[in-house]
């Protein structure tokens, strides 16, 4: 279960008296707090690993992870340069998550997008913007395939994506090997295993820098990061502000209900995957048209596509948050490279894995904290009542208890007055939603309950059921 926006309505209804508490109870703030907490725990875990490996050199290395990315403009430019494709693949994964799909095929779409961009740049001598459009189309085509398979043939998109990652990789290698102008060896003596340098083959295809390279004094810098940010904003608007985005999300939340409401679910699945693929494809284009990177023929899938998954998860699949999580992941990657050779840069992967693992648990921590706060409040109120003081504060604060109690049912309560754009529920698998639908009746009544009505026993009720379950044997 991820932190969701579902609690918004309830939370606002709660209207906490104290500003700090109110702030912490805002789901946005809680999400950020949870993410930051996960990052801190992940970093501490990384530090422990470093200490275990070589206690003497652990602290300097750890400092490198933390500061290298901001140490000088050149490194910062590198952070942004690597962040752009990460944000794009992160967006691809996040967008699919939001629409109820798991796009594990971002790496394939990224590779195919990169290939189309390079084909256009090196073989057809297109300008950079035309190459980027082709990258988008290539990624979209590769993303559409899992969508088509799911919508028309009922094949799980995870499987199709995995298969087409490999098919895409080998296809790309095949194409590059068979188009001589694409290889470095066409222009010079070396480079039979990598694509040609754009500066030599077609300088027009390099994404313009608009003076940013001079500003930061780094060749890595170009306007690619702005494309990533713009794409994130567009995706945010589509998902949150348009009927189209709402349809896609509704379809992800409950295919049957969406169909009942007149949404063509098959069409939505195909479109979701196509857009997701287009995002990843653009990422490939941005990275390989930078003028700094060349595509090296390889038989293993490119990591950037897979790293989109942690970027999306860390950003809780929120397109705007993905910008920051992409920059953060890129930042610690740059720091990890600076750790070498004393430590392997894979330590950073361990850190990001730990962050994701903890963030998967963070909802639980959050719930626990809220429960604790609610219990304290209850005790205080009880004390007040014994003093003969009317517990006026009790009524509005039950809202907070709803939140605390909700995730214990496994499903956050459904706010009844939810705005159309507010259903974004992240990345729950279909099955969860199906389950949720079954449990819907119960939630409904619970959330309908007037907020003034005492609701203190709710968690106690749950506890009873739990013990019942254990007794049955």
């Amino acid at each position: 279960m991820r932190k969701t926006k579902d609690n918004v309505g309830l939370n606002l209804r709660g209207g906490g008296a104290k500003a700090v508490k109110a702030f912490l109870q805002k789901p946005g703030a809680a999400s950020v707090t949870a993410s930051v907490l996960s990052i801190v725990i992940g970093l501490v875990f990384g530090l422990i690993v470093l200490l275990c490996l070589d206690a003497g050199r652990a602290l300097p290395a750890f400092t490198k992870i933390l500061v290298t990315g901001a140490a000088n403009p050149d490194k910062f430019a590198k952070v942004l340069y690597q962040a752009a494709p990460l944000i794009m693949t992160g967006l691809a994964v996040a967008f699919a998550f939001k629409t109820g799909l798991f796009n594990i095929g971002a790496t394939g779409q990224y590779t195919v997008g990169a290939m189309f961009a390079l084909l256009a740049a090196l073989s057809w001598k297109f300008p950079w913007w035309a190459c980027l459009i082709l990258a988008i189309l290539g990624g979209a085509a590769w993303g559409a395939i899992p969508g088509l398979f799911k919508a028309l043939l009922n094949v799980n998109e995870v499987i199709t994506s995995i298969m087409f990652n490999w098919i895409g990789l080998f296809l790309v290698n095949l194409v590059i090997n068979n188009v001589p102008e694409m290889l470095g060896s066409y222009y010079g003596p070396s480079g039979a295993e990598r694509t040609a340098r754009l500066a030599v083959a077609n300088p027009d295809a390099i994404i313009p820098k608009w003076g940013l390279d001079k500003l930061l004094g780094s060749n890595y810098m170009n306007i690619g990061i702005f494309f990533a940010i713009i794409a994130a904003i567009i995706i945010y608007v589509i998902l949150q502000k348009t009927t189209f985005g709402y349809e896609l999300k509704a379809c992800g939340l409950n295919k049957h209900a969406a169909r009942y409401a007149g949404i063509k679910s098959g069409r939505s699945i195909i479109l979701s995957m196509t857009i997701s693929g287009a995002l990843a494809g653009l990422g490939g284009g941005i990275y390989f048209l930078s003028g700094v990177a060349e595509y090296v023929l390889t038989k293993s899938l490119l990591a950037t596509g897979f790293n989109g998954i942690p970027v999306a998860l860390l950003g809780a699949s929120n397109p705007i948050a993905v910008i920051f999580s992409g920059i953060f992941i890129s930042y610690i990657f740059v720091g990890g490279e600076a750790m070498q050779p004393e430590f392997t840069k894979e330590i950073v992967d361990i850190i990001s894995a730990a962050i994701i693992y903890v963030s998967a648990l963070s909802l639980l921590v959050k719930t626990g904290l809220e429960k604790l706060a609610a219990r304290k409040k209850r005790e205080r109120e009880a004390a007040l009542e014994t003093n003969g003081v009317e517990a006026v504060a009790a009524a509005p604060e039950n809202g907070a208890e709803f939140i605390a109690a909700a995730p214990e049912n496994g499903v956050p309560l459904e706010p009844t007055d939810l705005a159309p754009g507010e259903t974004g529920r992240g990345i729950l698998p279909d099955a969860v939603l199906k389950n949720r639908e079954e449990a819907g009746e119960e939630e409904y009544t619970a959330s309908r309950r007037p907020s003034g009505e005492p609701n203190i026993d709710m968690s106690a009720e749950n506890d009873n059921t739990t013990t019942d379950g254990e007794e049955a044997l």
Binding site: F102, L174, I356, Y357, A360, E408, A431, V432
Partner: protein, 330 residues
């Protein structure tokens, strides 16, 4: 004929890790936990198994008893897989976290951990863990000498025969029996289909799900070692996406043990004819295309997709997979 013997033995060699891991995934999903962490579990199993093998290879007793050593390595790989899979079980059963997310994080953790551990043990930059060659089962183990011109059967049987092969065959049978003929199997399946119903008749869903994930950890760990053996060039901190392929094979096999074995064999067959295509007379050689090996490398994936396209309409996933079980939601 020798080519066919090689193809058959190669098919089995590459099918073994797929079978093991896909069966592992089946147990986990049948209990209701989507185990996307199979890739990571394989890596950890391979890491521990290979570290053990390379460590004992320096000693004197191990090469004297190769199969016993191999058995221990397999056991260790399985146990390490269990330990690693418990992270997934803890997150998804006790803490009711999203199974895909915790699985993904374990997949990220495993290869990084493998590199860190192999560097720490073997020295900086020494990523590859080499495994000894004596783990192969030879004719001598059966008490007869290898003939100079091996027959079809001899070539098929001993070209690449490792202890993992008979173990995998045994596990197919055991898995089918356990899943369909025992009380445990029935309960496990119930937890994946309708955990509330299972709980209501006294089955401890949490325990069953832990068991499902632990079995997948055990088989995944062994599968990782089997994969490293099949590749033959030592362990390089990864299993090249075989964990995900196993997931595909499991879905392809419709969550049923025998079908999974069939699916794995089909996939492995198309995987193996790529490198061997030069020696097979009737296969097109694509001489007009540069680097035509990539065409054959794509083949297993394309074949799988074609078969899936025709079969998946009848695909029946366990109904409750992916849903954290909550007792209060009956």
């Amino acid at each position: 004929m020798n080519v066919f013997a090689d193809i058959l033995s190669g098919t089995i060699l590459f099918a073994v890790p797929l079978i093991l891991v896909a069966l592992g995934g089946m147990f986990s999903e049948r209990s209701g936990i989507v185990n996307i962490a199979l890739e990571g579990i394989m890596i950890i199993g391979a890491l521990v198994g290979c570290l053990f093998l390379s460590a004992v290879a320096k000693g004197s007793w191990a090469p004297g008893m190769p199969q016993l050593t191999m058995f221990l390595a397999i056991l260790l790989a399985g146990i390490s897989g269990i330990v690693f899979s418990l992270f997934l079980a803890f997150a998804s059963v006790n803490l009711k976290a999203d199974q895909t997310i915790s699985g993904t994080s374990l997949n990220m953790l495993a290869p990084a951990l493998a590199i860190v551990v192999s560097w720490a043990i073997q020295g900086s930059g020494q990523t590859t863990i080499y495994i000894p060659t004596w783990i192969k089962i030879t004719q001598a183990d059966f008490g007869f000498a290898a003939s100079s011109a091996p027959s079809f059967f001899e070539r098929f049987a001993f070209k690449s025969f490792y202890l993992t092969t008979p173990i995998a065959i045994a596990i197919i049978v055991i898995a089918a029996v356990v899943l369909y003929k025992t009380r445990f199997g029935l309960r496990l399946r119930a937890c994946g289909e309708h955990p509330q119903a299972a709980d209501s008749v006294g089955v401890n869903v949490y325990k069953m799900r832990y068991a499902g994930v632990a079995i997948s950890g055990f088989l995944g760990g062994i599968g990782g070692l089997a994969f490293t053996i099949a590749v033959g060039s030592g362990f390089q901190s990864g299993v090249s996406g075989y964990g995900f392929l196993a997931l595909a094979v499991m879905i392809f096999g419709n969550w049923k043990p025998l079908r999974i074995a069939g699916a794995a064999l089909l996939f492995a067959f198309f995987k193996i004819i790529g490198p061997m295509s030069q020696n097979i007379p009737f296969l097109p050689s694509f001489s007009g295309v540069k680097s035509s090996e990539y065409i054959y490398l794509m083949l297993p994936y394309i074949v799988t997709m074609i078969v899936l396209a025709f079969t998946s309409r009848r695909s029946l996933a366990p109904k409750a997979e992916g849903i954290p079980y909550d007792k209060s939601l009956r």
